[in-house]
Symmetry: C2
Subunit: 223 residues, 2 copies
DNA sequence: GTCTATAATACGATAGAC
DNA sequence: GTCTATCGTATTATAGAC
């Protein structure tokens, strides 16, 4: 008998009177809590005790499943990298015209960020605290996630629908335009308290304006 | 007799044989070290001991000058907010044609980021760790720094040289395209180890491509 | 103004009961 | 598999000498 994820993990006590849990569910709960904590505070700043409290278990369990703080961190980083690949790959962007593929990529990135608004901070924490030492182990996944965008830009230039541009720099500019919005959200809500920048309607506005800006900035107007 | 900032702060011992220092210089050294530390690790993750070591003084001095960790953090946040204003205001962007002013703004932002590559992390740390609780105290400064860009976009639309766009969203998109480059640097160096993304030549490439993308994305092509 | 020494606490990790 | 209790260390902060 397994717990359903999302409900309280306690199972009624066994005949011995001791409460028991589903190990796989516990592991996932720890990972979820750790992702939030490490996103907020990074590897050094993250508190094992805080993760345990959020996950509803004790610090001893974390050491039982992940050996130590660093092992847990490594496991936390792995999941989003895989999910990013899994979000991009099934789109089969290589089979679409560059312009269509680009818009689809942009909307997928923004939807991913909207679904995990603070997950990107994981990578900024990693970059700034550890100079990407743990990120380094995942370069393969990220190359897979970003490669399709490079490919789109090169195909667009080749067929003449995109103007001449540097694919790598343009990739960074596109991602920046899409993602920065979510990074600054918690600060900017104090600049413009009346707008809920994470509401679906406002995120959709962000997506539309992003697509418009990037397409206008990249399309070859002589074409 | 004062120390010159940047050289070793020790002054030859006085007649009593006790080494002395310039209090103002000490304070600045603490602020510099603290900015680096808090940028890397945020308020909670930052270590007073690490700041003291970098500044070349003891932890006792930090408490002497800034009362406690939180007081030091508050002082650290204040300086970049002021400097951002001081970088933008003298450009007198309101007196330039929108297109010229926009390019100047973009290049100023990128130059500022290149000069302080990890300073932007201060704000991300603040956003994610503290939900902008300390940022809130500085909204005035940031409104002053960003206001000119909003103004440029609105003037451009009014005179018809810019297409119809949302000034606030476009501001975020522009900043994202300019700044994201520096945020991901430490991770992406592992994706493309052969390129030194902080070298002046590559930063200039980034600036050129940014200007090109943003201007092309914003200009009214019917104009 | 700056240091050394230390008190007080917070945190990561482990042992051992159940 | 999960908990309670605890050890050892790292960290913030302070007291007091110079």
């Amino acid at each position: 008998m397994r717990c359903i994820a999302g409900v309280l993990p306690m199972i009624s006590s066994s005949s011995s009177g001791r409460s028991v849990r589903d190990p796989e569910a516990t592991k996932q709960q720890i990972l979820d809590a750790a992702e939030a904590e490490f996103s907020r505070r990074g590897l050094q700043g993250g508190r094992i005790e805080a993760i345990a409290r959020t996950a509803g278990i004790t610090t001893a369990m974390i050491h039982y499943y992940f050996e130590n703080k660093e092992g847990l961190y490594r496991s936390v980083l792995c999941r989003p990298a895989q999910e990013a690949c899994e979000a991009i790959a099934p789109l089969q962007l290589e089979k679409l015209p560059p312009k269509v593929a680009l818009e689809k990529f942009i909307r997928t990135v923004i939807a991913y960020e909207a679904a995990h608004p603070q997950r990107c901070m994981l990578w900024f924490q990693e970059a700034n605290q550890n100079q990407g030492e743990y990120f380094k182990l995942l370069t393969g996944h990220w190359a897979d996630a970003i490669g399709p965008l490079i490919d789109i830009l090169e195909r667009g230039m080749a067929e003449g629908s995109f103007r001449a541009l540097d694919p790598w720099l343009t990739t960074v500019h596109i991602l920046g335009a899409c993602i920065f919005y979510f990074n600054i959200h918690e600060n900017w809500k104090h600049l413009m308290p009346e707008v809920d920048r994470l509401s679906p309607a406002v995120v959709e506005q962000h997506a539309q304006e992003s697509v418009r800006l990037i397409l206008a900035g990249i399309l070859n107007h002589k074409f």
